[in-house]
């Protein structure tokens, strides 16, 4: 693949030696539900989807040494239960979560366990310089509610490929290639044995220092476009469009992200009539105060949350 890129196209203004180092740190991950994140939309997700919550949250992280830390986290507030009717049902819950993290350049372990027995575990291991193994699992005591996924990532000179295996006979593979210093294209396929579904998707990402534009199409009917513009060092604006051509569902959202010296403020407005804001204020070294608000005018659901985070 690298030899094909040694011939510089006449339209680019960058010098030929730069074409060899086109390694863009973009990862392309699978679309369907069990996957928690996709890095191709990373900037847009960071600005438009902060971790909004309702209730009180307290997190305490204690570092025992450079690599190892423990965390204690308390949450009290209404939790939404998925219901068939249009009304949202909320049940007040309180839970405590204990966690342990070990972060090494070659190995990363992340574990969180709740009082009701739910374990959330992640593992990332660099087997060789280019091959990494990632695994994550959500285990519960209820039968058939646990999920696990293992993925092997291979990083080439200017491409990345990944193969994933999940429980329920879920197989996925994806590949992304840089074609110019700013543009990358990728594709993915997945097969879900349990639901007998398979799909294919394509994505493209164009970024410069000031902006990132991404587009993604999948055979499950999803079309997602996003655009993030870094207006200044402290401010960036993001917008996002999600369209499902099977169910004819469209959502557009627009948001901002202010990263100031003492705080980080993110806000967004949605075409579903949802307005949200998330503030993280640094009160002191290691002490952060969090405020979260989400007003859903369409469903008449208003959520407010506050919290405190102690520790680095």
């Amino acid at each position: 693949m690298a030899t094909a890129l040694n011939v510089p196209p006449p339209t680019t203004t960058t010098a030929p030696p730069q074409m060899k180092k086109e390694e863009e740190k973009v990862d392309y991950l699978n679309l369907p539900c069990p996957i928690p994140y996709e890095e191709i939309h990373r900037e847009a997700l960071m600005s438009l989807k902060p971790e909004l919550f309702e209730g009180m949250r307290f997190d305490f992280t204690k570092g025992l040494n450079q690599k190892f830390s423990l965390s204690h986290s308390v949450f009290m507030g209404p939790m939404e239960i998925p219901s068939q009717s249009t009304e949202t049902i909320k049940i007040p819950t309180a839970n405590y979560e204990f966690g342990a993290n070990f972060i090494d350049p070659k190995l990363m372990l992340f574990g969180r366990i709740m009082t009701d027995g739910r374990l959330n575990a992640r593992l990332k291991c660099d087997l060789t310089e280019n091959l990494a193994l990632k695994a994550n699992a959500q285990l519960t005591n209820e039968p058939h509610m646990s999920h696990g996924m293992v993925s092997f990532d291979y990083k080439g000179k200017d491409y990345r490929s990944q193969f994933q295996l999940g429980n329920g006979a879920l197989f996925g593979a994806n590949y992304i290639q840089s074609v110019t210093p700013h543009l990358a294209f990728g594709g993915e396929v997945f097969w879900a044995g349990q639901h007998r579904k398979s799909g294919i998707g394509y994505a493209a990402r164009y970024n410069t220092d000031k902006m990132v534009a991404t587009g993604q199409v999948a055979s499950t009917g999803l079309v997602a476009l996003s655009y993030v513009q870094k207006v200044s060092e402290k401010v960036s604006l993001a917008s996002d469009l999600m369209y499902n051509y099977m169910s004819r569902d469209v959502t557009a959202s627009f948001g901002y992200d202010y990263i100031l010296r003492q705080c980080r403020l993110r806000g967004k407005i949605d075409s579903n009539g949802c307005v949200a804001a998330f503030l993280e204020e640094r009160l002191n070294m290691g002490l952060n105060f969090i405020l979260s608000a989400e007003l859903d005018h369409k469903k008449k659901d208003y959520k407010f949350g506050f919290g405190l985070t102690v520790g680095e």
């Binding site: 040494n65 190892f68 830390s69 342990a100 070990f102 090494d104 285990l139 696990g148 429980n167």
Partner: protein, 72 residues
């Protein structure tokens, strides 16, 4: 070999292989892998956090046991 056929009759009618011995071997493999996955799930559920703690307590510089338990 014939005894294997008698043991594994769990009602899973896969019916892919014609010979009864091959059918039971495929069933065996499936059942063993299911058993292994179940055990692995239980082991991970109970053992992952202790594993992280053990690896962390043995990393340099070694933290003290009292640091693990104290709230400060």
């Amino acid at each position: 070999m014939a005894s294997k056929v008698a043991l594994k009759t769990k009602g899973k009618a896969s019916g892919k292989k014609a010979s009864p011995e091959e059918k039971s071997m495929a069933q065996n493999l499936k059942e063993w892998s299911t058993w292994a996955v179940k055990k692995a799930k239980v082991i991970t559920h109970y053992g992952f956090i202790p594993l992280v703690i053990i690896i962390g307590m043995n990393s340099e510089p070694k933290p003290h046991l009292s640091q693990l338990l104290s709230p400060v």
